[in-house]
Subunit: 314 residues, 2 copies
């Protein structure tokens, strides 16, 4: 895939959690293009032969390995790391799980569940779910970030202002991401690659899929970003939107409760219309349904909407 | 516009607030198509000759007049009103205001501000903002709903499970909306028409524009909806997405704070890049920027992203 890369970070060169004392896997000049081999979010614990029993016994100490860290010469606190997302080399295997205690509707879905996916990494045709649902694919890296300034080992789970487990679906090929730098060199790592995800990642997992990524790392000196920002090269939902959407809403004074209401109602709608088991519908919508804030100003009630792309069934 | 309408509700047939004791403006059979004349959200207080002084003296007792109510024969609590949004007849005039105390960044923008818009209602070409920004148009009704079951007069401002001031950008031509019915006849009204708005309506107003609307009202008996839902006929962002997006993010444990951070950073970005006065940028992004929830599961931090369509400047 990468004919012009300056460096390769192999899958064994990974770490769990963020710690600014981790030894860099490579030191690179600004402008370097790097080929990252990324494991899936289970670090290989889930495979094409896994069953739901393997979800129940996942070792959470080995969740979300990230490949790196990369020390970028000259990066200093206050700079931004400019990450040009050149492309991905997907593997063709993926999984989506409901992990007890994790996910937007954790109170409703307490039992582990697992969906295994296969897709064609050369054509990237929509991936079959169940008997007749097809989920359009758009690969991206769920976890992408720099090391935080605060010393010590930090959980990989929450994203931070330096990035990390952002799970932003549009960090796909062609996007340019700007991440605050908090330590010398930035100490950038990437992993948790996804073949597809909806905005929200509502069940807690996407189509989790091992994948290689090619990224170019550069610097913007003294950018003084407060938070990550990014620029997309073009439209972001055209793989999903051709047939329009079914949309459920949550109206009320709490955005989190509104999101839960909208997603729960969509699960119920898909169950009623397509006879999909609720936990299956919950995993399906996590890979392709989008949470949007329709209004956030009409005091005291806000509207969160959940957009399910009809192309999945039509 | 409407050659096949069964009824016309004139602009004078409006009410302020919701009250299930309001006398119906019309009683209609299910399946009726109705031509609604809708005033703008200021009920004509703001006009093409208004200045910012008129924002400061707005009479809030006359905000968001809605045309109706319509009593739909046979509608009963537990049913859903099926509203097919046939189309709009825009006027060509609009306004966007920053109203003190109202809007996502009310703490940052305390002074009134006003933008007046003109657009071509026949071509619906993007509307000019300032010297070189052009906002794509997509008309819809910001306030659309049934009367609530609870007796008495209720503020027009917050939306409720029966709908109302939903401000959902995609309630545009071709969309079919389903609203819970809580009282006999439903008592449906519509107004607060917008020529364009981004998801969130972040400054509190959109391109507020008087407009006629044609809607078909039908019933789904015993639908037992918990909240409004809708089906779009096709893609929802293609008027905006051709050139991609600039995106800012808010990462943290509170969705509301994340939304504020993302919008504030976008205002700052547009100010720095295009030398737009911050309050002008705030009003501009309210008409075209979209708030999305990128992830809502990576405890304890969520990511809210604000998507500004680059086509506005490019």
């Amino acid at each position: 895939m990468c004919r012009t890369c300056d460096h390769t970070i192999h899958g064994r060169q990974h770490h769990f959690g963020w710690d600014n004392s981790f030894e860099p896997a490579a030191r690179v000049a600004p402008g370097s293009t790097i080929h990252f081999e990324c494991q899936d979010a289970s670090a290989g614990q889930l495979t094409p032969s896994s069953t739901v029993a393997d979800v129940a016994t996942l070792d959470f100490g080995r969740i979300n390995p990230v490949s790196g860290p990369i020390y970028v010469d000259g990066a200093e606190p206050g700079d931004a790391l400019k990450v040009t997302i050149e492309g991905f080399e997907p593997s063709g295997f993926g999984w989506t799980a409901n992990i007890p205690g994790f996910g937007l509707l954790a109170d409703d879905f307490k039992d582990p569940a697992l969906t295994l996916w296969t897709y064609d990494p050369s054509t990237m045709e929509p991936a079959l779910f169940g008997k007749n649902a097809r989920v359009p694919l758009k690969p991206f890296a769920g976890t992408i970030g720099n090391a935080p300034a605060e010393n010590g080992l930090h959980s990989i789970v929450p994203p931070r202002r330096v990035g990390g487990n952002l799970d932003i679906r549009d960090l796909s090929a062609g996007t340019v991401l700007y991440l605050p730098v908090e330590v010398a060199g930035g100490l950038f790592s990437v992993g948790d690659t996804h073949a597809a995800q909806g905005d929200g990642e509502v069940c807690g997992t996407a189509i989790e899929s091992p994948m290689n990524a090619v990224l170019t790392l550069d610097l913007v000196k003294n950018a003084n970003l407060k938070m990550p920002r990014f620029t997309t090269a073009g439209p972001v939902t055209r793989h999903l939107d051709a047939k329009g959407y079914e949309v459920t809403t949550g109206v009320g004074s709490d955005l989190m409760e509104g999101a839960k209401r909208a997603v729960a109602d969509m699960v119920e709608l898909l169950d009623a219309r397509y006879q999909i088991d609720p936990v299956e519908a919950y995993m399906l919508v996590s890979t392709c349904g989008d949470l949007r804030i329709s209004e956030i100003v009409d005091m005291p009630n806000w509207v969160v909407s959940f957009y399910f792309p009809r192309v999945v069934f039509e």
